[in-house]
Structure formats: C-alpha cells, structure tokens
C-alpha cells in the first residue's frame, strides 16, 4: 500500500513539475532580439531600462554592504587629513555632480559616462576579489559578495550596451557613442592607477561610482521613457 501511494505521489509531482516547467519555458523561450526578427519577443526600451536600473541598484547595495563591513572590521581613522586627498582612479572621468549638470548633459554624453565608469571598474574589482579570497580575515560571505560585485559590473556593462544599441536603433541617440573602442582605450590609460589604491579606498570609490551609475541611468530613463515610474 505505501508503495502505491509513493508511486502515485511521484507521478503527480512529475506532472506538476512538467506543467510548471512548461510555463516557465514559455516565458524564457523568447530570446532578446535586437533586429526585430519575426517571431521574436521584443522587449521595450522601458523594460530594458528597468532591468538595467534594477541591476545597478543591486550592485550598489552589495558595494554598500561591503563598505560597511570594512568600516566595522578595520575602522580606519576618520580624522586623517590625507583622506581628503583620496584619489579614485575614476576621478579623471568627468561626471556631473548635480542635478542640473546631469540634466544639462546630452544623452550621448551621459551614456558614455556610464559606460566609462563601468569599464573602468571591471579589472580593479576582479583583483580586489582575488586579494580578498587570499585574505583569511574575511569570512566567506564577504568573499562571495566581492565576486558577485565584479560579476555584476560585467553584466551591467553588457546590459547598458544593449540599451544603447536599442536607443540607437530607435534613433533616440546618435551613433556617436562608441561601444567597443573607447572602453579599451580608457582602460589602457588608467591601468596603473588603481593598483595603488588600498582596499578600503577602493571600496569607497566603487560605492560612489555605482551610485552614480544608478542615478545616471534613472535620469536617462526618465528623460527618454518617462511613462513608467518617473
């Protein structure tokens, strides 16, 4: 008797799984196609923006957590005079420091700034994760976060590039935004500076930059597709 019940339960569970998997696959089955091919499930620009903004928000959250942990464990003295002259390696990138400045900036410029920032942080975060993995002072949770952070930067850059492509396709922005060439060029020029930064400063700088990215993306979105949530 229990054997019968078990077999029945197994069959029923399988059926349920099949139904659910079918439903899920129907949602994920549609690829993201930029060329508007026939039969493609096309995401709207607003949808793309929302996804990107969510991703950047999550990235910023992780960087904030890591920074707080660093402050707890290491407590660098806040009264250092030298802290004022902290120099993030991305300070060479001109970023708008106010709302008006950001709104005055053209969409293409803003988009470029975002991309520059994301590109600039890919390598430093990867190395930061490597150094954290070797450091036995940090627990596994922090190490996982740093890995996640570096992955997210990479993902976000790809996402933003997709948004730019979409915008260019829609004719919202001009094609002057260079996607591939300029990030590599920037990377080559700034390659040495970030190695001099200490871990704590690196985290501090990245936290700020992720906030910038998030904010700029929001501004872009509300400027271009203001219907939803602006």
């Amino acid at each position: 008797m229990p054997g019968n019940i078990r077999s029945v339960c197994a069959v029923w569970a399988m059926l349920v799984c099949l139904v659910f998997c079918g439903k899920l696959t129907t949602v994920d089955a549609a690829p993201l196609c930029t060329n508007a091919q026939a039969g493609c499930h096309v995401l709207s620009l607003a949808n793309l923006f929302d996804r990107v903004i969510q991703h950047s928000a999550r990235m910023h959250g992780i960087s904030n957590d890591l920074h707080s942990e660093f402050e707890l464990y290491f407590l660098p003295s806040k009264n250092q005079i030298g802290r004022v002259s902290r120099n993030c390696h991305t300070s060479s990138i001109l970023t708008p420091n106010g709302k008006e400045n950001a709104q005055r900036m053209a969409r293409e410029e803003l988009t470029e700034v975002i991309l520059k920032l994301l590109v600039a942080w890919r390598d430093p975060l990867w190395h930061f994760h490597q150094s954290m993995a070797h450091h036995h002072d940090f627990n596994n949770f922090s190490s996982n976060k740093s890995l996640e952070m570096s992955d997210m930067v990479h993902e976000l850059r790809k996402g933003v590039q997709k948004v730019v492509e979409k915008m260019q396709m829609l004719g919202i922005i001009s094609n002057s935004v260079s996607n591939l060439a300029s990030p590599e060029a920037l990377l080559a020029s700034d390659s040495a500076e970030w190695r001099l930064m200490k871990d704590y400063d690196l985290l501090y700088c990245f936290r700020r930059d992720s906030n910038k990215v998030q904010n700029y993306l929001k501004i872009l979105k509300c400027r271009i597709v203001p219907e939803h949530g602006c």
Partner: protein, 586 residues
C-alpha cells in the same frame, strides 16, 4: 594727599579685579560640535552644530569646509536660513558625490576653538520631507469595505526626473489604541487596507525614504470612519449556531454512550421471580399445565445439591410430658429444634408459615387436645374416627405433597408439639380436628414424613428434643393399606436414645402379610424387658432387622434379642416393614 591715596586704592581695586575676572569668567570658548547635516532633496543641505561654553565672552561661530581634492577652504555661505547655529548650503555650493570636510570654529576675544571635522557626502544624508496630500477614502469590494490611501511625494523632492527615488511606508491604527499596523508601499503612491472593523475610526500616516538615506517624518494623521456593515452580525449568528450544534452533538453522544447506566438509574429493573430449580422461561412462554407440572418436580424440593442423607430423619423424638398438660416450650427450643436439612441453605424470601409461631402451635394443640378429649369420650367412635382422621391425614399428607413447598421450619415445631398432642391417651394420637387447618396439614406432613422415610415425600426431621421419648406403634392397617399408629407410653426413660422395650400390649409385632397386602400384627406379652444395648443389625432367621425409628444414620437403633414367639415364625419382635414387606405406596 587724599587724591593720591584714592587713586592708589582705585588702581589696587582694578588690579585685583582683572586677575579675578580672567580666572573665573573669561576663557576660550568651549569646543563646538557638529550634530548633524541633512539634505531634503539631494540638492541642498544644512548642517547644525552645538556650541560649547562660551567662556564668558561673546563668542562667534564660523563654519569652514573643504571639498575633496581641493585645498581651498570656504566659509559657510548662509548662517541664517536654517536658524541658529546652522549653515545652509544652497544649490550652487552643493556638489553631490563630493566629500565635504566641515569644521566649526568658535571664537571669542581670547581665542578660538575648533570642532572636530566631519566628512560628509550629500548622497548619504538625504532625509526628505513627509509625503503630502495624504487622502484616505472608504471603498467597497463585494460588500466588504476597505481603505484606499493615496499621497504625493514632497514637492521639493524631484522624483519626476529620476533624480531621487523614494519608497513609502504607511501605518494605520484604531483610535484609542496604541499599536500601529505598518505597511510598506514601495514606490507606489497608493495603497489599500483591508480587514477593517465595522464602525471603527482609523488614523493613517505616511512617510518616505530615498534609496539610501533617512526616513522622513510621519505625515499628519488622517482620520477616517468605517461605516457599519451587516455581514458581521450574520457571521456571528452563524458562529453561535454552529457552536451550539456542536455542543448538542457531543451531549447526545455522551448520553448514548451512557444510556445503559442511565436506564438503570431512571428505570430500575423489576426483580424477577426467584424459584430455585424452576425455569423462568416457562412462566413467560409455557402453558399453565406445563407450569404446574414443572412445579411438581420429582426432585422438588431440590435435593440434588444436598445429600440425600440430610433428608433422612435420624430419629424422631416424641415425648409425652409427665403431667397431662401442655408443656409450653420455650420459643428458643422451637427455634433450636427447627428442622433444618443438613447442608442446605434457605432462600431469603421464602416464607415461614404459621407453624413457626410458638403461640399458634400451642393454641392449635390446645384445641386439638380438647377435641381429642371429646373424641375419647366417644369410646366406640374413636376407632372409626381415628381411622377416619388417619385417613384424612393420609390424604392430606399425600395431597400436601402436591402443594406448594413448605419450608422445613414449619415441620420443626410440629414435631416438638406433637407429643403434647399425643400425650394424654393412647388413642389421642389421632387428635386432629375434623377440619385440618394448615397447621394440621403441616403436622400430618411431619407425621407422614416420619412414617415413610424412604418414600418420595421428603422429610427434614432430624434433631429431636432432649426430653423423654415415646415410641409410635402401628395400630392397625386399614383397608386402604394405610398404617395407623398410636403412641406407646414410656416405661422408663434414659438418654441413650435407644428404643425401649415396653411391656405388652402396646407393641405389636408383625406377623405377616396376607394376600391382600395387609400387614398382620400380633400382640405379645413381653415377660422380660431387655435393656437396651448398642444396636446392631442382627441376622435372624426371618426378618432380620429390627424395627427402628426411621433414620438410617449411625445413631443407634437397638435390637431386641429374640423372644419366644408364639408364632411359628422366628421373627424378631420388630420388623422393618419397609424392607421385609414392601407396602404398596399410593
């Protein structure tokens, strides 16, 4: 002279005052401290500080700040907009994502004191204003009301351009209560609250927060009253009904479980008839003939359980008092002499007849005695009358066996008083009244028991009394094959319980049995009186056993030695007629 003296005194006074003042009143100002800096919309911000002691001298405060990666020190542009001890940074002076290093300096005439520097980034000190235009309305959803709360972001916060993203939270409570119910609304500007109390008055408040910043203050409370609705009452009634139905089910189930004991409590069962050895089913189902025949059971009264020996009377003691008057016995003797079968138990509700009554027995005996005297006077009639009476007895005795059970106790008294009835005249043995009452029948029953020990009629006669004993002798046998008896006067008494030999005419010897099954008795004159001796069964030529009183138990029947007999038959004096000459039993 006096003027100089006055000047000196003044100088001295002044000199004394100056050091005194410096020591106690005037000092450097106390260290101020920056308490907080806040930005309401991420475009401007304000810093407040707490002044220290002023040192007795008028103190001025100044705020200096430095921006990140710049050595230029700027002073606060606006000390007044935000109130006392504050510094307001307007849009032009505010840079986001830039580290500010702010210091407050307190200075008085003696010097200045610097506060501890504070690093701030405006992004992380945003505390917006409370949401505005909070509106609460009551709406209905399928008859159930709910609250719809809507609001707007603070007008200063620019959410439309995406510069700030706010998340909202609201709280609700009933008027008069202390507990708030919190709801997180996210980025939406509208929220529904369900599960309201009918007729309740509610308070609603909303607040907001940027992604990374501080919660705003709660908005001013909005009051709303929920109207009464009918469903609530109905549901209460439904609940009550269900509850009582449940209780009712439980109670009825309990009663059903305990129905047996309840039935016993309320309606106790009627006790059934208690007749030992009698099948009750016959009373319910059988016919009347069956019932009556069942009552006349061959083994009734039940003898199967008890020993048969119990029923045999060991010996019957009959005594004739010395004087010709009734010997009143103690009731105690009566009870002592109660005939009880050995080993049998009495039923508790079996009745005891009038035979048990001592006085009644005496009365009856007295009457009987009188009657007997009267009958004696009719000399010639005695025989026939006696015969008649005896016949009546026998009949009674026989019929009596068919009647209802009589307890053996009834017979006990009779045995005792029987000799008193017998006493005066030998012929008196046939004393009974013409109308045999229940007492007489009982007596006859006793008598017949003693006469026919091995008969079907049971007898319970056992323990006789202690007084003098008398024997009963067979008088005649009538034509109906009945043995007529009369008592034999005692010659001399002794306690050995043996049969006494008596002289002469009162004893009869069985001569023989003729063709008509009549016991022939012969009178003889005994010349000698042989004393008793331990009785033994002695074999003689013919009849062997001596005639003893009925019991076949160990107590001592005596044997008389053989006496000369006129008859040819060498018979002992007494014959156990039952064995030698079996009488036909009716």
């Amino acid at each position: 002279m006096m003027k100089k003296f006055r000047e000196v005194i003044l100088l001295l006074l002044l000199l004394s005052f100056v050091p005194h003042a410096e020591g106690t009143r005037y000092s450097l100002p106390g260290k101020p401290a920056l308490t907080r800096c806040r930005s309401p919309e991420k475009e401007t911000f304000t810093c407040w500080w707490e002044p220290g002691s002023d040192g007795g001298l008028p103190t001025t405060y100044a705020l200096y700040y430095r921006k990140e990666n710049s050595e230029t020190v700027y002073e606060c542009p606006d000390y007044h907009t935000a109130g006392k001890n504050s510094c307001f940074f307007n849009k032009n002076d505010t840079s986001i994502w830039v580290n500010y290093n702010i210091t407050v300096v307190a200075s008085n005439a003696l010097g200045s004191t610097f506060s501890d520097p504070v690093d701030i980034d405006v992004v992380y000190i945003v505390k917006p204003n409370p949401p505005e235009k909070v509106a609460v309305t009551v709406m209905e959803d399928k008859g159930w009301p709910f609250l719809r709360v809507s609001w707007e972001p603070p007008h200063k916060a620019d959410t439309r351009s995406g510069w700030i993203t706010l998340i909202y939270e609201l709280r609700v409570k009933l008027e008069g209560e202390n507990e708030w119910e919190m709801h997180l609304a996210g980025q939406q500007k509208m929220f529904n609250i369900f599960s309201l109390r009918s007729g309740g008055r509610y308070l609603v408040q909303v607040r907001c927060k940027p992604d990374h910043g501080f919660w705003s203050e709660w908005s001013s409370a909005s009051h709303i009253k929920v109207p009464d609705y009918f469903h609530r009452e109905r549901s209460v009634w439904i609940l009550i009904t269900v509850f009582f139905a449940f209780i009712f089910l439980i109670v009825s189930w309990c009663i059903h479980i305990n129905s047996h004991s309840l039935k016993h409590c309320i309606l106790p069962p009627v006790p059934g008839p208690k007749i030992r050895g009698f099948d009750k089913q016959l009373l319910k189902n059988g016919k009347s003939e069956d019932i009556f025949s069942a009552l006349v059971v061959s083994d009734f009264p039940p003898t199967s359980s008890s020993n048969y020996e119990d029923l045999l009377v060991e010996y019957l003691e009959v005594y004739i008092p010395e004087e010709q008057e009734l010997i009143l016995e103690e009731s105690k003797d009566l009870h002592d002499g109660c005939l009880k079968p050995k080993g049998s138990t009495f039923d508790s509700d079996s009745g005891r007849g009038s035979c048990d009554s001592h006085t009644l027995l005496m009365d009856k005996c007295g009457e009987a005695k009188d009657d007997g005297r009267q009958t004696d006077q009719d000399g010639s009639q005695t025989g026939s009358e006696a015969q008649r009476q005896q016949a009546a007895w026998e009949q009674e005795a026989l019929t009596y066996a068919h009647e209802d059970m009589i307890s053996p106790d009834m017979s006990s008294g009779r045995v005792k008083t029987w000799p008193s009835v017998f006493s005066p005249l030998p012929q008196y043995s046939l004393s009974p009244l013409s109308q045999p009452s229940s007492l007489e029948t009982a007596k006859q029953h006793c008598l017949s028991d003693s006469l026919f020990p091995p008969s079907s009629l049971s007898s319970y006669l056992t323990q006789p009394g202690q007084s003098t004993k008398e024997y009963v002798e067979v008088h005649t046998v009538n034509e109906e094959d009945m043995v007529l008896l009369h008592p034999v006067p005692v010659g001399h008494s002794h306690g050995k319980g043996c049969l006494q030999t008596h002289q002469g005419e009162d004893y009869s010897k069985v001569n023989g049995v003729d063709k008509n099954n009549v016991l022939l008795l012969q009178r003889e004159v005994m010349e000698e009186q042989v004393d008793m001796c331990p009785c033994e069964n002695k074999d003689a030529n013919g009849a062997t056993e001596s005639y003893c009183t009925s019991s076949a138990q160990k107590s001592i029947p005596c044997i008389h030695t053989a006496l000369p007999v006129q008859e040819e038959k060498a018979v002992n004096g007494y014959v156990d007629t039952a064995t030698m000459f079996p009488l036909p039993i009716h």
